[in-house]
Subunit: 315 residues, 4 copies
């Protein structure tokens, strides 16, 4: 009886999950104004308040710092059409009686969207409409956006929670197209005896990051990641940001082949929640550091869509 | 009598000042190996330890965050030969049944050396010799340095001390070529009832930063800043880094016209102390926030000379 | 009476002018397929045949070469959003026993659209439709166009005819918004005792080019140039290309304030006729060289919209 | 007797050739002033005169044009450290009542030294000394050279002579490290019943160009090319330029492993003779077009070391 019942429940869950995969973006009327107000440009960045900072820094007990960023170089993994090209320039050559030489570098890159990267709200649209229904046509210029640019975000310091789905499944790395469900997230948190609070940084460990420096082709081809259902459940927990150790955050390809990275839209466009991608999470997961102060300082690129960053977890 | 005496004192001060101005870089034999060891590549970054972090975060009592970074844009002030050029790219155009659009930006910039910027040890040389006497010819490639690159630094969290020289002098902004002496620094600290400890971030407020967005020509032409004597005194206090609200850190032009920004050499080459430049310090100074946790996350540019950054002070 | 008569004449002129000014782009059905065939990608480039070359080179009698190109540099005049940024790179430093050093330059520029420039057919659209009604959406990629790219054009050698409208009007330079009519072109040719033949390069001298190195602001603000009527008359003469000594070819602003550079559309989109812009024509005009071999070698930028060039006239 | 004599002669030639491989660059005193005068900046470009043009254009009898250039794209063969990166930009979007759209491209490239390329005199040095003993330190800036820049060269039109060494050897392509000697060049000319005249463009066909689009790795790894002896013999014929269908012109690696591309120095630094590299010569060789008008229009890059070009041969 119990076995049959369990199978029945699983069957129901499966059907629900399959249903969840066919996602339709909300209309402008359904999603706007955002819960932060019609004129709001900060979205979940509104969680960034002195008490949020204190809640995070109170978690710092040993002073141990974990680097979550990636080394920026020409041969790191890129989404199609992006690059990081750099040339070293020698400028001053033994100038003055003090024989001073100077070096710098010229770089050509999609600065907002390479390496460990932070996504702002101008990065994604539904039908040419951004977060809070700002229209691309109204704010896009050749050199950035006049609203919602990443320069308005500011540094973020908040409680970070690592949700280790790979550990939940007992593997170092989830499968190539493993679709993380809301239930996976809930069970992983339960296993870690932690819960999410509004304003947290929810950091999902899939293990995929171990391919970053070892197998670029596989890293980019597919990836385990969130289903639309998992993303919508996360959004309901009201986090400041969602981070993970792959590029798209969502499972790729999406189970519904007609969908193009819907998780990006759910987070950035529908809910105004920032994303952190391509994080290096192996140290945190290895040492089972599940709760920490998450600190990220996006570059203030005027009108930018995001920023490459070098975030840290501190405990 | 008083007039004569005053002239005498001025005469002495002038002689002392003139002496301080004629700075000769130490020879390789005099400065190497560095105090951190012959193979060391971290310099004052070695101060970055768990206890340093705790010393800093213990200063966080209100959760107030001060942004010290600058908005990155084409018309910000640049040292000669640098730029920040950006073009917005629309990439995906309403892809999938979810009508997903995507935007990003292509940027062409001296990424290590624009905006609020963090200097690594490959930035400066004395006679083609870097910190710890690493020879440029041995480590320079077309695309970065094989040693001492900024990717090795990691995020820095330490006690920050604002040394408000402008306030000491009772002005909002020091004069165009005001040469800050060691005595100025000492008196400013005394006035603030603070002292520097090894591993601190020493942040000098000159007030010059108020020209950043208002008078680029004047901002770049000259600037108040440290004398070689002040820089050497600071180096003796053993800080992790020295920051300020102008570009060159040193007074420009140097009182000795034969010297080319010797303060850069004293910090980076001779002593292995990082620099933070073009900081926005008006809020800290205005609210007399003299002691805080300084957090800076340099981008991990492989083989880079530095990184544009968006640092924060938290109290 | 005279006053009334004058008013009457002005009224008529105004009506005629107003008529000429109100240009409506032809519909796809009206302009496609082009006269060169439905699959054609070469447009007036089809005139480039051996006999065209011979017709041009037969005009070479003295061997005198006139440079029509511009020096490429950061401070030349640009249309908004374009630039030419360059950094010299020293690469090999006294390599080998032969002590070989090598220099090169890294350049960041809108390569197809700076300096003296040649326009290909992907440069302009009417309602997202290119020459021969190729749809932008069908051929545009992030890195060029899969059809109609400038790499297909090849070098052009044809008879060039300078049409000196400034000389016709007895001025070194036409007025800031002088609108060149078809009648102006016809009278200038008559004055020069020359006629256009199919396949020619029609080069219009307005004198505006003398501002290139002397008054960038004025050069870019407005310019004398072709009316839509003049452009349509020229197109009927069936030239291989139309060149001139300003950037937009058409008079700027257009007399009809609702029109955005219609002359570009008439030439490139409607008629498949290439454009050559920002030419240096003072030597040709000064020496009254009205007939010559025009040689232009566009760079074969894959999928490009045009090419900066250094064309010549040879007689 | 004849056989023995021939063997003897061959033996001598071989010894001479082996000797020729150990090349020592001439001292400044030996090579300066150049034969064109101490202040000369044009070198063999001085051959460009009206009579040179006429000598070339008189060879145009059929009007047939051969394209010697290469399509510029991200995946063409590059010398190390060079690239061609391009992004298409849509700018105006259906502006005006005429619904005008505009496209352009932003390009990041070593513009002087990619694709079919023309070398100016700032490209190469012997001991930091350029053509005519101009010192790099005296003329190099961050953004180009104040003397000898490629903008001074102008368009070149001269008699071109294809020297088909591959055909002489009865192969479609010379071996991977085949070292072309002066005797090879002489015999190839003899076979073609042609001789070089001062001011000619000497174009060497090795067949290596057939690898351009088919085997980039092999194209770049080594290449057949000129020995120092062949280059010096060519220089004595006093050509305006030397062109070929590989990148380095000289055989790579040079038979003397201590030498770093000495042929570049012999041409550019010692003799002031321009180079044309990576030419597409298969059509010329296939049709045995050995004499033609060679036309090349280097971009006027201010202070540049060279220019990517799209040259043509016309007969």
């Amino acid at each position: 009886m119990r076995v049959v019942g369990a199978a029945f429940v699983i069957g129901l869950a499966y059907a629900a999950s399959a249903q969840a995969q066919s996602w339709t973006p909300p209309t402008d009327a359904q999603r706007c104004p955002s819960k932060w107000g019609a004129a709001d440009q900060r979205g979940a960045g509104n969680h960034m308040k002195p008490e949020t900072v204190l809640r995070a820094t109170r978690l710092i007990r040993t002073g141990e710092v974990f680097e979550l960023g990636r080394v920026l170089k020409a041969d790191m993994p890129f989404s199609v059409g992006r690059r990081f090209e750099m040339e070293t320039k020698r400028t001053n050559m033994n100038a003055g009686s003090n024989r001073r030489g100077s070096n710098e570098e010229i770089v050509f890159t999609e600065l907002g969207q390479v390496g460990a990267q932070f996504d702002g709200f101008t990065h994604q649209t539904i039908d040419d409409s951004l977060y809070n229904c700002v229209k691309v046509g109204d704010v896009a210029t050749r050199t950035g956006f006049t609203k919602l640019g990443v320069e308005h975000v500011g540094s973020l310091i908040t409680r970070g929670v690592l949700i280790d789905v790979a550990a939940l499944k007992g593997v170092p790395m989830l499968g190539d197209t493993y679709a993380i469900t809301a239930a996976d997230l809930q069970q992983a948190l339960q296993r870690q005896k932690l819960s999410l609070q509004p304003g947290d940084a929810a950091i999902i460990h899939t293990g995929w990051g171990r391919l970053w420096d070892t197998d670029t082709t596989r890293y980019l081809k597919t990836n385990p990641g969130l289903t639309t259902g998992a993303a919508e459940w996360l959004a309901k927990q009201d986090p400041m940001l969602i981070g993970t150790d792959n590029g798209p955050v969502g499972v790729t390809p999406d189970p519904d082949p007609n969908l193009s990275n819907p998780v990006h839209q759910i987070a950035l466009v529908v809910n105004g929640i920032h994303l952190l991608e391509n994080l290096k999470l192996d140290d945190l997961a290895g040492k089972q550091v599940y709760e920490f102060a998450l600190i990220v300082q996006p570059l203030k690129i005027q009108g930018g869509t995001g920023s490459t960053v070098a975030p840290t977890a501190v405990r």
